[in-house]
Each structure stands twice: as C-alpha cells, then as structure tokens.
Symmetry: C2
Subunit: 717 residues, 2 copies
C-alpha cells in the first residue's frame, strides 16, 4: 500500500539509529563487527573499549550484569530522545548484514517500543518456561544478544531494577519480559521469526548463505526472513566465522573476494626497511624432496638479510641436506639457529622454541613452514605480510588430492570436518582469504600476535594430548584470534609423508606414486610433456624406432648411483638365477630393478610416462605396460662391451641412455639390422622405444672406452 | 719265375677248355649263366636242354645220379682227347667271373688231373668225415658243384662205377675221392681254398664283391683268392642273385649299370602294333590322393586302345573317385573291368582274378599297380617293356624315407632284410636294374610269365597265411623267375597309408605330414617355392606387410568346403565359448581349425611353409610357429561384413585369401591404419603376413557383395 510506505519513510527519516555494544578489546571479531557497520554507514557507541570510553581494564570474561550497569552509565544522555532508536548487540560474535532503513522498517513493523531477539532454548532459568506466551511460529524465548528500542524505553528497561555485575543480564531482561505488567508498560515483544536478529545456536540448519543483489545474506529458510544481525551465540562462533567469509560484503559469486584488497599492509620499497622474519622450518621424519624444499626456501623473494632461519631436523638423512644447504647459504642470512637430531628435541617443543626465539631476536614476523611444503611461489612472504592478518597461511595441498593444510570446519571433537566450501577453496574454484578454524604446515604470524599469544599461553604448541598443530590452533581460536588461509594464488604443494623411503641412496626415486608431481619435476625430463601433445612429432631415427627425452640427468645419475651402490652386477652369462627359467638367451652385465627393490616403481613409471608416447607413435596399441625384465646394463671394454644381434622378449622395448656419449664413453648404440640403421649418441635421459620382435632384430654396438649405462625394459612380453 | 710262366703259357695255348653243364630249361638263372660264359668267350656243352641236346623231358627236380648218367652219354666223344680240359658246373645257380687263361693257369697249379670244388660241411654222408684228409687251411669236404679235369680223367671218373638216376652224384664222387687208391689213380684233389670254385653256402661271410680292373669279382677274404666260378649252392641262391647284380660285368663304380642297355626289347614304332597291357589297379582302404593317382594313370604315355583297366576298389570313398574317372575316360580304353566295394572281394583274390582276366583277354603284359603309387614318369609302361624281363617294377618309395617297394634281401623268415646296397639303390646313388627277392606295389609281367606261373600255381597271391605281395614273390622265386626293380629313372612315389583320413570331405587335406610331397603338390602354390630362395623378393604391399602365393586354389576351395560342410559359424559375438577365456575382443564370424579337427595339421603347415618367408622377410626372428587362434572368417553384407580396427594376439599374423575378389565378392581387404595402407584384391591362395601388434593396427574392410573367406592365424601369441 503506497500510503503506508510513505508514512514509514517519513518516520525513518526523522528517527535516529544508534548501534550500541560493549567491548573491551579490538579483537579480530570486533574489527569484523565494525567493518560490517561501516559498510552500512551505521553509527556505533562502543562502551568499555579501553582507549575510547572507559578508563581501566575490564576482564573479557565479565558477567552479563556488568554489561547492563555499563549501559546505565553510558546511555543516560539519550534517555529523553524519543527520536532515537538504540540497537544493542554483542560485537565479537556479531555481523550486521543490513542498514538503517531496513532495520527501522522491520522495527516499525513490530509496532512495539522494545524488541528482544529470540531463540529456541530457554536460558538460564528453564523453570520460567510456562510463563512465556506460546507461539505457533518462531522462537519462543528471549535472547539478550540483540535488543532494539526507542531510547527512553530502553533506558526505562535497564533501570527497572538494580542488578549486580555478576547477575545474568539475560535473566534480568527475561524477568521484566515475563512480567506482563512490565511488558505492557514497556510495549515490549520478541523477534520470534528473526526479522532483525538471528541467533545461530540451535538454528544452524535453518540458515543458508544466499546472495541478495550485491550482498551476501543469511536466509532463515524456515521463516523465509533475512535477519540483519547475525549472532554467533554460544558455541556457534565458528559458524559465524564461516558465514562472515561471505556476509555481508565478503565472497560473492559475481565479484569473487571483495575484501582481499582491503586493509592491506603497504610494505616499504627499500629492502633495508622491510620487516624481519624468522623462517621456522620443521623437517620431521620421512619428509621427501628436502633438497628441493631447501632450494625453494633459498629462492624466496625476500632479502636474506631480513631472514633468520630456525631449523629443526630430527633425522640424519635430512640433516645431511640441511648441512649442505647451510654450508653454501648460511652467511647470507641474518641468523641461523639449527636444532639437529642429536639435540633430541621433539616437534612441538621445537615449535614452541621457535616462537620464543623469534621474540628473542625481535622478529617482526614468523613464517612457520614444514619440510613437506614445497613453495613454488617465491613472493610468498611479501604476499602474506601484505594480507595484514594475525595468522595467515597460503593454501597448500597434496597434488591432485583434497588433503590440504587447513580445515574449513571442526567436528564436535575438534577434528576435521568438511565445510560446504572446502572443495571449492581447495580446488581454487573459489579464491580469496578465508577465516578458518585450523591451519598447519605453513603460516605467517605477526610478532605482536606471537607476543599476545605467549602472554596468554606460554607453550602454545602444547594442549593436553593434542598434536602440535591442533594444540596451536585451539589456543589461537580460544584467544579470539582469527586463522586465515589464502588461496588467492598458487603458492605450492603439500607433500605426503605416507611412504617411508627404503634407503639412504636417492630415496626420492621411490616417491613416484606418493608425491607424483614433485617426482616428475625432479626426474621427468621437462621436454617430455610437449611430446605427449597431439600436434608434436616424436623423433624416429629408424623405422618404427622412436626417441624422446624421458628422464632428467638427475634421474639418470640417481639410477646409476643406486645400481653401483648395490653392486652385484651379473656375469653376462646365460645362466641367470634371477630369472624364472634360470636362463638368459642374450645375457648382459646388468642389475635388475627388483634387486634394488625398484620394480614396482619402475613398472609404475613405465605405465605412466612412456605409455603416452607409445599410444601416440603406435596408435591403436594399448600397452599393458607389463614387464618382467627391467634392468640396467653396464657396457665396458674390459667387461661386456657389446650385445650380439637378438630379439627381446617384448612387444616393445624401452632403452634409456643413463650417461653421456663422448664424456662418459665412446662407441655404443643400438643397431637395427633389418633396416641397417643405428641409433648412437643417445642423449642422457633420452629413451628409445622399438618393437621387440620380428621386425627389429637388433644389437648393442661396441663400447670402445669408458662405461655406458642403459636402462632396458622388455614391455608386454 | 720267367721260365715257369712261359711253360704255363704254352700248355694253356695248346690245351682246349670246355664248360659242361646239365640243364633242362632256359630259366632266368640259365640265361645269366650263359651270359657270363659268353662274356669270357667260354664254350659250353649244355646237356639235357630240350631244344638242343636231349629229346624228351627231364624233370627239373632230377636226382644227381641222373646227371652223371647224362654226362656218360654226352662226353664219350671227348674221352681220348688229352688236350681237352672239361669244367663241369651247375648252371641255374652259377656265374663265371673269369676266362680260359685264368682257369687253366689255376688248374695247372693244382698239378692234378682232376679237381673237385670244396665246401666246409660234409654232405650227404657225415659218417665219412674221418676218411677225409685233414687240411690246415681251406674247406675239407668235396662238393660236386664244380669239377675240372682232363677229358680222359674225367671220363674215367664217371665210369668207375654204375650209378642209378636217383643216387646222389656228390656221394658218388666222394666215395671215389675217399678211396685213396682211386684218388691216386685219377690224380684227383680238392680246391680247398676256392682258387677256382666258390660255393657260397656257409661261406657268405668270407665273401666280398670287389672290383678288379673292369670286372666285379668275388674275393674270398679268408684265403685271399678270387674264385672264378661262383656257385649259389643250397639256400644261397638269393645271395648269388645279389652278387650277380655286380659280377662279372654287372654294376661297377666306374661304369655304372653295364647290362641296362643289353637285351632290350625293341618296341614297334606304330601305335597299333604295340603290345596290349592290362593295368591292374588295386585301391585298398585308406589310400590317399586317389584323384591324383587316377589322373596320373590317365597321363601314362601309352595308347589307351592297348590298355585294359582292371580296377579293384573296396571302399565307397575311393569308389566315388573311380566312378568319376571312368565316367570321363572309360570309352578311351580297350576294356574296363571294375570290382567295386559291393562285390566284397578281398585284395589277394582280386589280384589273382586280375591275372586270370589278363590271360582271358589275351593281354601281352600286365602292369600291376597299387593306389598308393603315384607315377610321375609317363613313359613307365614302355620303359618297363623295353627292359624285357619276366617281372620288373620301377623303384618307388616313400618321399624322404627309405621305405620302398622292393626288398634287397630276405631274412630267415622270408621277411625284409636290408641288403648292403639297399640304401644306395633306394636313394638312386647306384642306378640300374636289380635282381631282388621281393617287389610290390607296381611291376610289369609278361603274359608268358603269367601263363607259366599260373600253370604251376593257380592262385599265385595265396600262399599259406602270407599276405598277397609276399605270397606272390615267394611263388615267383620258387619257380626260378627273377624279380627285378629298376631305378634307372625317377618313376614316382609310394604313398603311406599310415594315417586314416578323418572324414569324407577332402581327406587329403589331412595328409600334410604322412604324404608331404603329394600334399605339397596338391595344396601348396607352385610359385611359393621360388620365394623361399635367397635372391627372390617377397612383395611388400605395406610397410613390413608381405604377400606371397601359399595355397593352390584347390587348397583354398577345400578349406572353405570343409568349413561350410561343418557349419556352426560363430556369432561374431564377444562371448566365445571356444576360447580359454570365453571372450573374444574383436570377434569375427568364424570356425576355428580345432572345430574341424584340423588344428594339428594347420600348425604343421604354419611351421613348414610360411616360416620360410618369415625368416626371409624378418631376418633374425625365429618363429615358434605356435598358435592358439587359427580360424576361417566369413564376411558377408548380410552377416558380419567388416572388422573394426584392432591388434591381433600374435607376434605375426597370417591372413590367407580363400576366394576371389571380383568373382566371389566385392570390397574386402585389410587396412593398416598407422601407415594408411590397404591390401585389397589379394589373390585366392595368397597369404598376407604382418606384425600382429604395436605397429600394425589394422581393420578388415567392408565386404560389399558376395562372401569373402579368409584363413587367419595368430602366430606366436
Ligand atoms: O646396447 C643397446 O643399446 C641394446 C641393448 C639391448 O638390446 C638389450 O639389452 O636387449
Ligand atoms: O579382413 C581382414 O583381412 C582382416 C582380418 C583380421 O584382421 C583378423 O581376423 O584379425
Ligand atoms: Fe635388446
Ligand atoms: Fe587382425
Ligand atoms: Mn554473544
Ligand atoms: Mn614459550
Ligand atoms: Mn647248385
Ligand atoms: Mn587264378
């Protein structure tokens, strides 16, 4: 009705709205609260904040009664202002999702002078239940987390009775409300259907994040209302944190992350003015690819003079790599502190020590990073600093898995629960910076956060019998500090430590399945991938014989190393106890992959990489990539120097050069007699594939000098 | 001593030598005896031969006493001739190997007037043994088979006592000799060391055929003597027959067969004057390649108007072929007599009937020939007639085996024994015409021989429980008729009947192993062999795909026939109960070789023929020619008409076209996708071989009309 809406508009114009809250600290929650008010241009009166209104300290765990007493002190000046509406809410666990107009309009619709928010459970005095008026739709019971009313009425309500600081404020309001005389006098009512206030606790399942125009809002899907104030009352704080990643002006499908560029820290341009950071590195047992990890640390785009290294290792294998690394790079850093295996320090202790060391060395930040985090984005440190959060980590995850370094939600026991947006965030379909309950593996903390935390919890990585990461996050959450993860960019990967390395010689060779991506980067020739594409051509040095880069030189060297370290080269004799038949027709001096416990991995390699080339060069053939003959051959003038013409027990054979013609050996190569065609000087790491039988009778040409190594596989025998 | 030899020469010049023998028939043995005398220009007095000397008939089994009485009658005119030496020997079982000069010289060396031959056993009266002078070297006892002496002395010896016709002549001479007075009076001695006469019986192991200049002689290797007269006394007649193939002027390594061109029959030039011949054909059960047999009979170079066919078959399968043959050819022949399965006549009876029929029809010859004799030399009949023997057969043998149609010797039981020259004759390293104790399968007989034989033995193919062949030869030998085999030319082959044909449809297909040569001629493409040679090139229609003629059209047709006769074509579905796995990835409408019981044979074929091409086109590859997938595919527009791209479960695949593009079907062929190369219109019987996997992804192109059949083998899976 047009007339009515005009009347409402009038009254809204002339009436003032003041948001009132009580807060003692500018916690992350308080900042979030303020930001939501600012977004809607709402004016707030903050009562009790040390710097602003009230001198002296108020403990954060104050009684609710004290809140009312503080209001009495602060609101007296408004008690006669009939044109003022006061909207009292909590702040640490409250977000506003609408502005004055909406608030006033909804308030007016109540036709009441005072409206309390409502909830579905009665608290703290359940015996009062029957005094509550019954409702057919909506929450029946009063909740003091949101109270809106005309300033004189509000004043009257808080002054009806005296209340001690320790008396419960909600019980105070409840008793007034349940007194029908007082209720009528005040013209008070409840917001049964969350027109204005949604208390999340016990209502989680009713709520949905929806987009309303440019805003993200909460819809109460039961009452079909869009409450303005979202209150994470009781244990629903993490739920509010989750929602606040979206509401009111957070992530939105049309705009993406809208707060990512807000409140950023401007880093000084001059290197010497950059803040200092302690890189706290924790290399726990069975972490693969440590050399790569360290080299990526070294490649981080941040002046080493501003970096202190704090390194914890507790295994000899990895300590070796750390020592090598420090031997070369130590001097470049501002400082280095190493806790090595013989110090006998466990993980959580080391992490606690790191925090202390950071404060001791007057760091500005600490970047905590575990050995199984491969940082591929060298701007990581600056990027995280810029985010200007107390705790923020980059998203890192297992390659092609959903396992990451953060949790989007907690279950009742405090462990991992999958949040609705977890997969979208992990897969970076939804990018932004996210308030989450748990982060690990890599995160940046401000020194002030560390100081504050240590002031409250001397050993933050200890918490009952939790493991270090969970202990830390639990403490941080408890202290009202928000944990963030950003997936705004690709930062790197998390590696799995699931499979123990079998030995000290090139253990990373064995990581082919567990940490595929890193294994490939280390061992698969970078030019290999291009040849798997449709429009590229694989070199064909002889008819139906193809050559392509397969392994890095590092791979070739590692295989030779493993073999030479193992020893026990076969005699190149026909009799061969390693084979099922005990007889090798055309014997080589060799070591089989199974002798070095690498058969499973080699088969996986065969099935994963060369098969792409096989499918391309022999279209229509679907290789099983099965093999029972995989071995490294050693040719030397003084041992076996050539291999007589023969066929292989294979449908196709792969023959990879493991060292370099002209440097490591002279001569050598593979000649295909039927085509009188030889392939020689095959570059190290390059593979030859050829049909094994019938058409490709072949021989190993004589090695004239040095040692030639090749890795041969008879595939699909 | 010069003086002595002059004296001898003189006495030889002035002294006459007359060979004396008693014979009633001109048997083959007598003819042989005469020929040897003629060779040495020796004069012979034949006593008792009906036409020449004595009227009336003398039974061949006469008593020895009669011989002496005949001598008394015949030699009276020479009784006073002191310049005459008489040399009495047997004739049917005697061959001379030296002339007058040698005889006289050796006789003179005895310094005796009368010399009897000697042997190692005493006969007929063993009680006389101790009366014999002892000897240190040589045979101790008298043998009357050879007696040489001056005519007056000889006369005196035979007239010393009266003797009845039935008294034993050897006992007569023995008693004179053992009477020292008479011995001295006659100046008689024994030829202990076979200077002049070798009685073969009991001395076989002492004897060797040796070449002495242009002559073949017998050497007594114990006495180092070269006896002039070789006497097959007692049971050693066959041994003499054997020797007489060589001595004195028979086969010789310098000259080969010297009697092959002697005493030949000149056949009249005009066809109408040629003798008539009955072809007596015996097709016994399980004889393979009857159509080929009959067609070779038809191709014999002899006027059909002079040929009567006498055909015995006793199996429906073969009777069918005979009927077809006669339908076309019967009228061309002089006459045809068929004994068919429903006559219920067994082999030996049929053979006896043939002889009778030949005489009844007034034949000049009978050529007896068995169904398993493939005559490849069309001049056979004329050739054998020309040889002018009573019984002569061509050498035929199993291909690449030593089994032939003759025996070179008999063992004690009358069965096969291997003569020293058997292998040389069978392999035609020694060619000629050979007197042998047994022949079968194919031989020519003169009608006069048949008549003579029938006059003595009414049913020559019956003899106790012997089988027909042995019965016949035993009778013929007994009648003093020589059996001959000639290996002067290649005449054909003997086929094995060892393996029973499995069914009535193209049973010869199954003969691949048993009668390889005939199988090849019938089923292997004649152009195939040339391609197995080193310097010929196999057509290569697509890379590493080869095409070559493999089967005759007859083979292709036969395979299709066998398959269509069997029926039960598969549904072309993946599920295939005939396979171990029960699953065929790329199914065709087909019948597997094992379904028609042809798997073993097909494998043998694979191993024997295409492998030559495989070795040539894929050098270095040694195929096992193993296969578990061998089948005939049928493509039709209304059934399965093409095969989608696939690999075969093989190292190499063979794909043989079984019918003709453009006649039997349109479309079809095999396309190799990786080379975009198709092979179409493959001639019937031609094989394609190609690698099965990896490089040769291929498809069966659509058959547009008619039916296309191919035989596919996946080899070395
Ligand atoms: O020496 C070569 O490259 C050939 C090796 C080879 O053919 C084999 O090991 O089977
Ligand atoms: O139709 C053709 O010639 C191809 C047959 C074939 O590839 C097969 O049976 O495996
Ligand atoms: Fe090889
Ligand atoms: Fe195929
Ligand atoms: Mn609250
Ligand atoms: Mn501490
Ligand atoms: Mn005799
Ligand atoms: Mn008869």
């Amino acid at each position: 009705c047009l007339f009515l809406s005009i009347e409402h508009a009038k009254s809204q114009e002339t009436t003032e709205l003041l948001i009132v809250t009580v807060a003692t600290d500018e916690t992350d929650g308080f900042v979030r609260f303020k930001e939501s008010l600012d977004y809607f241009n709402l004016t707030v009166l903050v009562i009790g904040m040390h710097e602003e209104w009230v001198g002296g300290d108020l403990s954060r765990g104050m009684g609710g009664g004290q809140k009312i007493n503080m209001l009495k002190r602060s609101l007296e000046s408004y008690k006669d202002n009939t044109n003022l509406v006061l909207f009292f809410t909590d702040s640490y666990d409250v977000v506003f999702t609408g502005g004055k107009e909406e608030i006033m309009s909804k308030f007016n619709k109540f036709n009441a002078k005072l409206v309390f928010s409502a909830e579905s459970t009665i608290w703290p005095d359940a015996s009062l239940k029957d005094l509550y008026p019954e409702v057919t739709v909506g929450k029946r019971f009063l909740c003091s987390g949101g109270i809106i009313g005309y300033a004189p009425t509000f004043w009257e309500a808080i002054n009806m009775q005296d209340i001690s600081d320790t008396f419960d404020d909600q019980l105070y309001y409840t008793k007034i409300y349940l007194n029908t005389t007082l209720r009528a006098k005040l013209n008070a009512t409840l917001d049964h259907t969350s027109q204005l206030v949604q208390n999340i606790n016990f209502a989680k399942s009713e709520l949905e994040i929806v987009q309303q125009g440019d805003l993200s809002r909460i819809q109460n899907t039961v009452y079909r209302t869009y409450p303005v104030v979202i209150h994470g009352n009781g244990p629903s704080k993490l739920e509010l944190n989750y929602m606040a990643n979206y509401i009111p002006d957070g992530w939105h499908s049309n705009f993406g992350c809208r707060k990512c560029e807000w409140n950023l820290l401007q880093l000084p341009e001059a290197e010497e003015n950059l803040p200092t950071v302690q890189l706290a590195i924790f290399i726990e047992p069975n972490t693969p690819f440590i050399p790569e990890f360290l080299s990526r640390i070294q490649q981080l785009d941040y002046p080493k003079s501003k970096i202190t290294l704090f390194i914890h290792t507790n295994e000899e294998n990895t300590e070796r790599y750390v020592s090598q690394f420090l031997l070369r790079h130590r001097v470049k850093y501002q400082g280095v502190q190493v806790i090595s295996p013989h110090d006998g320090v466990h993980e959580a202790t080391a992490r606690n020590m790191a925090l202390d060391h950071c404060i001791l060395k007057n760091c500005d930040y600490q970047l905590s990073i575990d050995g199984n985090v491969q940082i591929t984005n060298s701007s990581l440190i600056k990027f995280l600093m810029t985010k200007n959060k107390q705790v923020v980590g980059p998203l890192v995850k297992l390659h092609e898995k959903l396992w990451s370094n953060f949790w989007g939600a907690l279950n009742a026991d405090g462990y991992y629960a999958r949040s609705a947006d977890y997969i979208s965030i992990v897969n970076r379909e939804r990018t932004g910076i996210w308030n989450i309950p748990f982060i690990s593996s890599v995160y940046l903390m401000k020194s002030e956060t560390i100081r504050f935390l240590l002031s409250r919890v001397p050993q933050p990585y200890f918490y009952e019998d939790m493991d270090a990461d969970m202990a830390f996050c639990a403490h941080v959450r408890q202290e009202g500090i928000f944990l963030h993860v950003t997936n705004e960019a690709e930062f790197g990967r998390l590696l799995s430590k699931a499979n123990v390395n079998p030995g000290p010689v090139h253990p990373d060779l064995w990581q082919i399945e567990t940490n595929k991506k890193d294994w490939e980067e280390k061992y698969i020739h970078p030019d290999f991938w291009n040849l798997t594409l449709e429009n590229t051509e694989v070199s064909q040095p002889c008819p139906d014989v193809y050559m392509f880069p397969l392994f890095t030189e590092e791979m070739a060297d590692a295989i030779v190393d493993v073999m030479e370290n193992h020893g026990e080269w076969s005699g190149g004799k026909n009799k061969d106890d390693r084979l099922a038949g005990g007889y090798e027709n055309v014997p080589t001096v060799d070591i089989h992959m199974n002798q070095v416990n690498y058969e499973k991995q080699w088969l996986h390699m065969l099935a994963t990489y060369p098969t792409h080339i096989i499918q391309k060069v022999y279209p229509g053939y679907y290789t099983k990539a099965s093999s029972i003959m995989m071995f490294v051959v050693r040719y030397r003038p003084s041992e076996q120097s050539f291999l007589r013409p023969h066929h292989d027990s294979s449908t196709w054979t792969m023959n990879v050069a493991l060292n370099t013609y002209g440097e490591d050996y002279e001569g050598g190569g593979c000649r295909f007699l039927r085509y009188d065609c030889s392939v020689t000087q095959i570059p190290k790491g390059y593979a030859l594939v050829h049909p094994g039988r019938l058409t490709h009778y072949h021989e190993g040409l004589q090695t004239m000098e040095g040692t030639r190594y090749i890795a041969v596989s008879f595939v699909d025998p």
